[in-house]
Amino acid sequence: MITAPLLEIAVLILGMIILMFEAFATKIDRRLLAFAGILGLTAVLVASFFVAPSSSTNQTAGFWSFYTADSLSIFFKQFALLTTILVLIMMIDYAPVVEDSVAARKVQSALGEFFAVPIFTCAGLMYMASAIDFIFIFISLELVTISFYVLVTFTRHNPATLEAGVKYLVLSALSTAFLVYGITWLFGVTGQTNLQRITEALANSAIDRTAALFGMVLVLVALGFKIAAVPFQIWVPDVYQGAPTPVTAYLSVGSKAAGFVVLLRVLRPFLMLPETHRLLVLIAILTLIYGNLAALPQGNLKRLLAYSSIAHAGYLLIGIVCLDGRAVIFYLSAYLLMTLLSFAVLVIVSQRTGDRISDFDGLGKRSPFLAFAMLIAMVSLAGVPFTAGFLGKFFIFYAAVAQRQIALVVVGIITVGCGFYYYLKVVRAMYWQSTAKMDKIPISALSRVAMSALILAIIGLGVYPQPILDALKR
């Protein structure tokens, strides 16, 4: 019988084995390590489907007072595993860039860590999905963040990467400080760190509401940084653009999803105070407007995807405001598929040409498969029916209409219009524009399989979303 905590332990052991292997077996092709990681994570992913969700009822003490294995957490563990597997596949394609930039003399010297660190990040993300205690949230968040410090600066001979790394380090540390400070205030007011008991304590009218609100706002700041909500989004464009592309994909999917899970968990206690609700509405509106408007003039695809990630945080926040966990989770799943697909294409194309949108000119002729994959990703991000992205928006708007959040709906509709413009800009480059370079772009078999699976999943979920909706009902 497999229980939920075993999954994380398995992932951690896998990460350590790969690190050890890297240290002692110097002669092997480092890419084997990535394949080993992919295989190991796939095994854990398969195992996770046999874990029976159980909501921990006995929350008074011990392990189960800070760790839950409910269906939400299991779903997000699978989400994190799948993301990491796909990111590792991208990293294999990206390996030549890392080799070039890290060490000219010793070939492959650093690749081992490049493949091992994401596995630790994955463990952190999985712990975060289960965390129901502020201390545990903080620890798993740090595991994720610190491994990201390493990953973001991995190609450190590139000045842009270095800049991205420093920005990420400083701002991330700052947000962590906010989180700790917020937790302390909440602990001071309620005397608890467990979310359930904080909720109970806040129901008591004797507590100091101003102090509690202050603590919550500080925690919201830290989570806003994680999910890239305005006004805590300043770091996003530069870091996304400077970081190695697979790491950017990981940041924009894994890190954001973890932020939203925590947000979903802390929402119950937070909404005991109505002020937080209004604050969240305001943040959602600002995020939608800023993300979409700033994406309009971008000419660099990586930067465009950075702003689009802010924009999608806005749509997700609509779901959060409406307290519709299922809509948020479906949107996140769709977001995972389409974002990773677009980054997978970007990783391959940018090594040949570059990561500006104009570098995609004529891709429809040069590589019909890559262009089609990108077309599906962009169309889904924009929200065209029969793709997962549309159903995500549908569920979000459904929740917003049901709650009569008129301001959010109006802003949402207008920004969807903006989205169509900047996503189709990429489609336009691929199919309308012509280019002088006509050589084919080679794709490895593994990437081809992964991309085809993502395309099928996007269209499949766009027509038949029931599996995801069911996964959460268990």
Partner: protein
């Protein structure tokens, strides 16, 4: 059978993208769908008023959401229109220089989307199938368009995207406005529960649907995307979009807004009448001022939407039947005109009315076809358009007598009749400038339509005449779809 009609074009599109010979596959698929549609028209008892050939695959029992298709008289007519225009459009396409497979694929995707939308009983698929056409349209205008194609492609795509998301809100609100127990994406189930929608909710939903569908139909003042897009689009794309896809919004109003939201429709009648007069009079006058043939055709198709809106606004069986008839007739006639205009552009490279002239001397068949299209659009008796327009005008006028207060509809009808004069002016003027007069020296060597292209022309004109002479055969299958809920104000 019905599933075959929906998925035949889509499957063909996928095959063509995967490398099947483009023109042959597309033609075969279009012919097969048309043949199946004609067979269904002959064999199904669609005059009974309820949906025939219903097939259903459940997707979510929790939401009462499934892939449900079926045909009644109204959707039968629309599917027939879509299949006829698809065949004509594919036939007129000919050789394409770059990405030939993608061109045919996009055309068939638009057509499959339109047919799917008309044949869906499920609200979600009704909406989603229409959107299937969005990206192919963007690509068709962007890659193969002419003139100011970039601006036109952006404009149509963003307009239609925002319009359909407004429509989506309306549909969500409609779904949520019935009690939880009877919520369903199935239009038939919604119709059964429609009595429970409060008048207040009806008003909001109807307004959202009117704006959403209105943008898709190019209702004044949301019409500015249409002429530019049709002028820039390659002729087959303009044929399909103006002829078929734009009818989706009208179909939606007839299918959802009128039967489910009678109070909402009554509340917004005066607004709709004012807007549709904008379509008829204002856009009509703008059309007269056009200097290019393609722009003129684009504006004229916007203007004729006004008549159809008048029929829908009249909300009695006669007017609504007339609106459906005119949708069918207009789809065929505008497709014919765009096809001929596209052929002229292929040969001359210009559609400036001042540059053309006397073309009937060198292209007699094209002149004849364009002339017949002109007569149809003007509404000469004998063509289907006449049957539709006269039913609309009678229906709208009669409605006014029963309102027993300020006779809004009579005024609208009288003003609308001036639209016929306006359209006569611009159509005949365009015909004279293009085909009559002296032939310029440089057009001496133009060749007429090749015999193979005469088939689709004959085919479109034949359908127009057939319907024009025997409108009763169509009215018989359309009216039962409306009788149940419009009988009160007959």
């Amino acid at each position: 059978m019905l599933l075959f009609i929906i998925f035949c074009p889509i499957t063909a599109a996928i095959l063509i993208m995967a490398g099947a010979p483009a023109r042959k596959t597309a033609l075969i698929a279009a012919m097969l769908t048309l043949a199946t549609a004609l067979f269904l028209l002959g064999s199904l008892p669609v005059w009974q008023g309820d949906f025939q050939q219903v097939t259903s695959f459940s997707i979510s029992s929790e939401w009462h959401w499934g892939f449900t298709t079926g045909l009644d008289g109204l959707s039968m007519v629309m599917v027939l229109l879509a299949t006829i225009v698809t065949l004509a459009a594919v036939w007129f396409t000919g050789k394409i220089d770059k990405y030939e497979n993608a061109f045919y694929g996009c055309l068939l995707l638009i057509s499959g989307g339109a047919i799917g939308a008309f044949a869906s009983i499920d609200l979600f698929f009704f909406y989603a199938f229409h959107e299937l056409a969005l990206i192919p349209t963007f690509l068709l205008i962007g890659i193969w368009g002419s003139g100011n194609k970039t601006a036109a492609a952006w404009k149509i795509t963003i307009y239609l995207a925002i319009g359909s998301f407004i429509l989506l809100l309306g549909l969500i609100l409609l779904y949520q406005s019935v009690p939880v127990a009877s919520r369903s994406f199935d239009i038939r189930a919604l119709k059964a529960a429609a009595g429970q929608i409060s008048p207040d909710a009806q008003r909001h939903i109807y307004l959202l649907l009117l704006i959403g569908f209105g943008i898709l139909i190019s209702l004044f003042p949301f019409h500015t995307w249409a002429p530019e897009a049709y002028a820039s689009a390659p002729a087959p794309a303009a044929m399909l979009h103006a002829g078929v896809l734009k009818k989706f919004g009208l179909y939606g109003l007839l299918r959802l807004a009128i039967p489910l939201l009678p109070d909402g429709a009554r509340h917004w009648t005066s607004l709709l009448v004012v807007l549709l007069l904008g379509n008829i009079i204002y856009v009509g006058l703008v059309t007269i001022a056009q200097k290019r043939l393609d722009w003129m055709l684009g504006y004229s198709s916007v203007m004729h939407m006004g008549y159809i809106f008048l029929g829908i606004a009249s909300a009695n069986v006669l007017g609504v039947t007339g609106a459906t008839a005119l949708m069918f007739a207009h789809g065929l006639s505008i497709a014919l005109l765009f096809a001929i205009a596209g052929e002229i552009r292929k040969r001359t490279g210009t559609l400036l009315l001042d540059d053309l002239g006397g073309l009937a001397k060198v292209m007699p068949f094209a002149g004849l076809a364009f002339g017949l299209g002109t007569f149809a659009v003007i509404g000469l008796p004998g063509f289907a358009n006449f049957a539709g327009e006269i039913m609309i005008f009678f229906g709208a006028f009669k409605n006014g007598w029963e309102m027993e207060r300020f006779h809004l509809f009579q005024i609208a009808t009288v003003l609308g009749l001036w639209g016929v004069v306006i359209s006569t002016v611009y159509m005949l003027r365009a015909y004279r400038k293009t085909f009559m007069g002296t032939l310029a020296e440089r057009w001496k060597d133009l060749i007429d339509l090749r015999p193979i292209l005469r088939a689709p022309v004959a085919f479109l004109v034949g359908a127009l005449l057939c319907y024009g002479f025997f409108p009763q055969s169509f009215v018989r299958i359309i009216t039962p779809a409306f009788r149940p809920y419009l009988s009160v104000n007959k």
